[in-house]
Symmetry: C2
Subunit: 298 residues, 2 copies
């Protein structure tokens, strides 16, 4: 999977930082995670293939997380998109989009309502799973977990031919099974496969106050995005405003034993991000700073 | 007056061109003319003083002309704006903004509905006049004319003192009157004033098909913005889609005998603007191309 940051700013755009929006690219499709104002322009700038976006996850109904969606949808319509778009969001978003797209779009939108305080599997097929879980903010807000499912074993094409394994059995080999020929000979799985790469997972938590209630949902993910609106000297303000600090984001990463942490959603009070990485790194040793056009391979 | 282009693109953002938005700065206040997505970021980038914006004119309800307004309004609220904001727009905009600003804004918004196919004086005081007039597009659309009123005569402070003119008479001097002393002596206006600079006017026509019906409203303005979505080889497409070409915009400028023409709202099909200025200049000899961050003194 590959994550592209389209916007890393907080509620107010500032110092060139656009509001929250990200693209998660899996082999199969792309997922748009939050869609602040200007996201479609950033997608153009960063050459994101917009018709590959099949899923849109909107964390909550603060404008800096969704004001760009109506523009994206209308532009997709003007461009003649035909692929269905799945939108996972609080129920109210439907009404807002409908009011501003009264012409007949050439593609279908399927809305999936996020229910307050509820965990849900939003989508699952054999390659991808999307889950939503509650975080703690001033309005109902969800975090998301994206899992790219990778088979247990990777097939070795040369060996498959050498041992004359029939194609119908390939997926069972990928699941770790041995193959038994009609004459009873067993072809051990290790002869024709190697160890697979395992699942890859990404979790997105923004906006949220520090809360350990999210740990079970994000445990052991490869990459965690956790908002860090403030440096830790403003921990009290962060708590009051239902946001987090650098140190708090890093503490969550540590407790959840994730591989890597990426922080963002910086307050407009900060002209530069001096101190953000340093503070987080004291608590957790693998920290990235979100910034526009950053691409992270997961 | 000073015009700043925030966005000069057409329906689809393309090649770095943002959707329609402009700032007209008068001495007294600023006016936001259309507000496509991303306008608030461009205002930051170009250091526009957002709390000086007292009037917002929205030409019509196509997203590329208003999707940025809800973001601007919410940000102004977060920044603690207290000044009233006047919005002149089709009635539906009220509902769209209300649905997305459910928190209590710290400033008042006064909506003034634009009525389909009607001319109206939207605002007038002794320094500024704003008028709306119908143009010809696929949905009800208005053009706008902005007049900065300048007095007929400019006062000469030294001469006013020399001839001991009382202050209460200054505005009459500016209107060209002579002053009569109590003893009957006449102080001729020319002794204490020089010729004033005259009114300055700007007209905005976007989006519109070529229509000479707008000429009476924009006659003799100092600067005319007229959309030119296409080069003239696509005149047929322009007509079908209720847009104009370079040549058509220039023909309107010529018929209206304006001082200067500025064209914009370029289709996303054009990677560069090669040919736009050349084509328009064949018909009308004082043409500017709108581009982001262009500032025009009127």
């Amino acid at each position: 999977m590959q994550l592209t940051i389209l916007g890393c700013g907080g509620a107010l755009p500032a110092y060139g930082r656009y509001p929250s929006a990200q693209i998660l690219n899996t082999n199969e499709c792309s997922i748009l995670i939050d869609c602040g104002e200007g996201a479609q322009m950033k997608m153009q700038q960063y050459k994101v293939k917009q018709n590959r976006i099949h899923h849109v996850c909107i964390s909550h109904m603060h404008g800096d997380h969704y004001f760009g969606l109506v523009g994206f949808i209308n532009s997709q319509g003007l461009l003649g998109r035909t692929q269905t778009l799945n939108i996972y969001a609080p129920a109210k978003l439907k009404e807002i989009i409908a009011l501003q797209t009264e012409w007949k779009l050439p593609f279908e939108i399927i809305y999936h309502d996020l229910l307050e305080n509820k965990y849900a599997v939003l989508f699952e097929n054999e390659k991808l799973k999307i889950e939503a879980f509650p975080v703690e903010h001033s309005v109902p807000t969800h975090g998301f977990k994206f899992t790219k499912k990778v088979k247990l074993r990777s097939l070795l094409p040369n060996k498959l031919r050498e041992y004359e394994i029939p194609k119908y059995f390939y997926s069972k080999l990928a699941d770790g099974e041995d193959y038994e020929r009609q004459d009873g000979t067993i072809i051990k799985n290790e002869l024709v496969t190697i160890e697979g790469k395992g699942n890859k997972s990404y979790a997105y938590c923004s906006d949220t106050r520090y809360t350990e209630s999210i740990i079970p949902y994000i445990k052991n993910v490869n990459l965690l995005y956790h908002e860090a609106t403030y440096l830790h000297e403003l921990a009290e303000r962060a708590h009051e405003r239902h946001h987090s600090t650098t140190t708090e984001a890093a503490s969550i990463a540590k407790l959840a034993q994730v591989d890597q942490l990426i922080i963002g959603h910086y307050s407009s009070k900060y002209k530069t991000l001096e101190g953000f990485k340093e503070e987080a790194t004291i608590v957790f040793n693998n920290v990235l700073l979100a910034e526009e056009d950053l691409v992270v391979n997961i």
